[in-house]
């Protein structure tokens, strides 16, 4: 660790609320020790080589002042137009009961903050928290040590949650910086299904640093649809650590859309612990300006006969940077695994960059795996073809980019959500690229 990194880590450790680390908070204590042991990533850390988040934390944030709680705020303009949903709202990293809407959930579905849960639920939370999120990531440890508030969602067996649950994070950075750590623990029992849409936004232009941690357990024959929308034009620095564990015959579809932000790092970790599982995880990043978006994904096939398919696409303009790292592990027992990965990128300017790296580690011998990554420019010949038919340059460009990007949406099943995302992508390409 460099001296600067040490000093900021020291500040972060000292800024902690002592009450967090009293007796009964063994988890937080352990995480704190882990964070201090791992340290913050530097440019020499393999997993953060291209993502100077620690530098940004050093330069832009003060750790001595705490982020104020926010009693209320108008959230209307941040709600996605995706029809009727349940709603969980976080303001400056704290759950807002007033702004959340959880009436009408199916019987026995639990949505509760960790603190407000009844004693039975608390013990369930205790038994699940941290079980699938073993990682060496400093920001996962930081989140585990410092999360302000956690939400537990429990879907009992054979329950189809009909409306999606929207998790909206809103940070008020109008007057001062925001530092927030939030957590989501989701357990979907046998034969059940749930759709979660997570969206983060901020007000103002002061810097925001937000770590997210999601732990989602998908039991036998259950389905999880998870969509993450990162379209916050503020001075946003985010690190997400998403852990999904799949049991036999479960299905998981994830979609990560990144349109804005300063530094956005998404760690998506999918553990296929069952047979006959199906996982689709797609992502799209359309970035410009100085945005850096970094998607690190891991899919770990531990059991035989499952299928995973990953497709990430990116369009980068101006000085924006993209990073993609996709790991596929196929463990010795995971025979008959089908695992596919692709990452395709278009660079729109000479100053935009992409660092892409597929990493396949396969110990089983009877598997079908493939990966591919491409990086190119917009097809000039296609652009001329469209123009020669009367479509002006800007529209022709948007049309081609849209066509390039669109198939990642195939993983989104909810038609309202799909239409909303489609609109978001199309508008973005027509206005900003």
């Amino acid at each position: 660790m460099t001296t600067a990194t040490e000093s900021i880590l020291k500040q972060i450790l000292e800024s902690s609320t002592p009450a967090y680390f009293e007796a009964g908070n063994e988890g937080r204590k352990k995480a704190l020790a882990q964070l201090s042991e791992i340290g913050l990533p530097t440019s020499k850390s393999e997993e953060y080589r291209f993502t100077p988040i620690t530098k940004a934390l050093e330069k832009k944030f003060t750790w001595t002042s705490s982020t104020p709680a926010l009693s209320t705020i108008s959230i209307d303009s941040f709600l996605p137009a995706i029809g009727d949903t349940h709603r969980i709202v976080f303001l400056n990293g704290r759950f807002s009961k007033n702004l959340s809407q959880l009436e009408g959930l199916e019987p026995n579905v639990v949505v509760s903050t960790f603190d407000a849960a009844d004693s039975k639920t608390k013990s369930v939370i205790q038994s699940l928290l941290g079980t699938i999120s073993k990682t060496g990531d400093a920001f996962a440890a930081m989140n585990s040590a410092f999360y302000l508030e956690g939400i537990f969602i429990h879907v009992p067996a054979n329950t189809q949650v009909s409306k999606p649950i929207l998790v909206l994070h809103l940070n008020d950075a109008q007057e001062k910086q925001v530092i927030a750590h939030t957590r989501l623990l989701v357990s979907i029992e046998k034969g059940s299904s749930l759709s979660i849409i997570e969206k983060s936004d901020s007000l103002g232009t002061e810097p925001c640093f937000h770590t997210f941690m999601e732990e989602m357990m998908v039991a036998e024959n259950a389905t999880l649809d998870y969509c993450k929308i990162q379209n916050d034009a503020g001075a946003v620095h985010q690190v997400s650590n998403t852990f999904i564990a799949q049991a036999d015959s479960s299905r998981v579809n994830t979609f990560t859309l990144t349109l804005n932000g300063q530094i956005i790092r998404n760690n998506l970790n999918i553990q296929i612990n069952g047979e006959q599982c199906e996982s689709h995880f797609n992502g799209l990043y359309l970035v410009n300006g100085n945005t850096l978006v970094d998607n690190h994904t891991v899919v770990d096939h531990q059991k035989p006969n499952s299928f995973s398919n990953e497709m990430y696409k990116g369009i980068m303009d101006d000085q924006s940077k993209g990073v993609f790292n996709g790991k596929i592990y196929v463990r010795p027992h995971a025979q008959k695994t089908n695992a596919f990965q692709s990452n395709r990128n278009i660079l729109m300017s000479e100053n935009a960059t992409i660092n892409t790296k597929p990493q396949l580690e396969i110990w089983a011998d009877d598997v079908k795996c493939s990966h591919g990554c491409t990086t190119g420019q917009l097809d000039e010949e296609a652009l001329f073809y469209l123009q020669a038919r009367g479509i002006p340059h800007a529209s022709a460009k948007a049309m081609l980019l849209y066509a390039f990007a669109l198939d990642v949406l195939s993983v989104v099943k909810n038609e309202n959500l799909k239409a909303y995302l489609d609109q978001l992508i199309s508008e973005r390409l027509h206005k900003n690229f």
Binding site: Y385, L386, Q387, A388, R389, I391, P392, M399, A403, D407
Partner: protein, 251 residues
């Protein structure tokens, strides 16, 4: 309608057009023939506004407007259509959507209101018959996986949709069997009127049996070296291009 005066163009350092003069009036069909590398496709591309070529001299007026100043899309909106020798495959964009955008962008340029879905569909159905193209093909990604014949028919379908004043067919016969050639030629012929004009760029006389030109020009080394009627095309078919080359060499 189209007046080309002393047009010169190059790609990189290479001079390709070295002073083209050509007048095309409404109602006429002009064929431009010539050996490979003579500049035929370059001329077609320069007229449509392809950026790879740099115009180094001369003028091109289209209905009184200097089109060399215009963006390719504006040239299309003014009524120039280039049927590509190699139509581009564009995954993710269906011909229908593409044409709807094109038709309405051109209407917008001309100050007309956009066609609604019903009117567009009607127009499309009408034009589909003309080139015997199936709607299922048009719902697919533009030209992706199309056969050579399907691509060329799609070009003529687009031409029918956009109703250009000047159509430039760049080697439209290449890669077509005789049946496809007839369908494409029929499409072109039925779109001919006294108000529009056609330039047919071709290496072979074959296409000209079906799209009969009023004038035939031979392009060689970046210049039009000989002009005549459809008889000239027949002569070229019989004798090849060598006698023209010799004539040029002697002159």
């Amino acid at each position: 309608m189209l007046s080309i005066k002393n047009l010169q163009a190059r790609i990189g350092e290479k001079e390709i057009l070295k002073g083209i003069n050509l007048e095309v009036n409404a109602g006429e069909v002009h064929a431009i023939m010539g050996p490979n590398g003579s500049g035929k496709s370059t001329l077609a591309s320069v007229l449509a506004g392809r950026e790879d070529y740099e115009v180094t001299g001369g003028e091109v007026e289209f209905n009184g407007k200097n089109i060399l100043e215009l963006e390719p899309s504006d040239r299309a909106a003014e009524g120039i259509f280039l049927a590509f020798q190699y139509p581009v495959e564009i995954p993710g964009v269906s011909t229908i959507n593409f044409m709807k955008t094109a038709v309405n962008k051109i209407r917008q340029y001309r100050g007309q209101s956009p066609l609604d879905a019903v009117a567009f569909l009607q127009l499309m159905k009408e034009k589909m018959k003309l080139v015997e193209i199936d709607q299922s093909l048009l719902s697919r990604s533009l030209n992706e996986g199309f056969s050579g014949g399907e691509k060329k028919r799609n070009e003529i379908f687009q031409m029918a949709m956009l109703e250009p004043k000047l159509s430039i067919l760049d080697e439209t016969d290449s890669g077509l069997d005789i049946d496809a050639l007839k369908i494409v030629a029929n499409g072109v012929n039925s779109l001919r009127s006294k108000n529009n004009a056609t330039i047919v760029v071709t290496h072979y006389q074959r296409l000209l049996d079906y799209i009969v030109p009023d004038f035939v020009h031979v392009l060689y080394k970046g210049k039009i070296v000989k002009s005549g009627t459809k008889e000239l095309a027949k002569e070229l078919e019989a004798k090849g291009y060598d006698w023209i080359k010799n004539e040029v060499a002697l002159a």
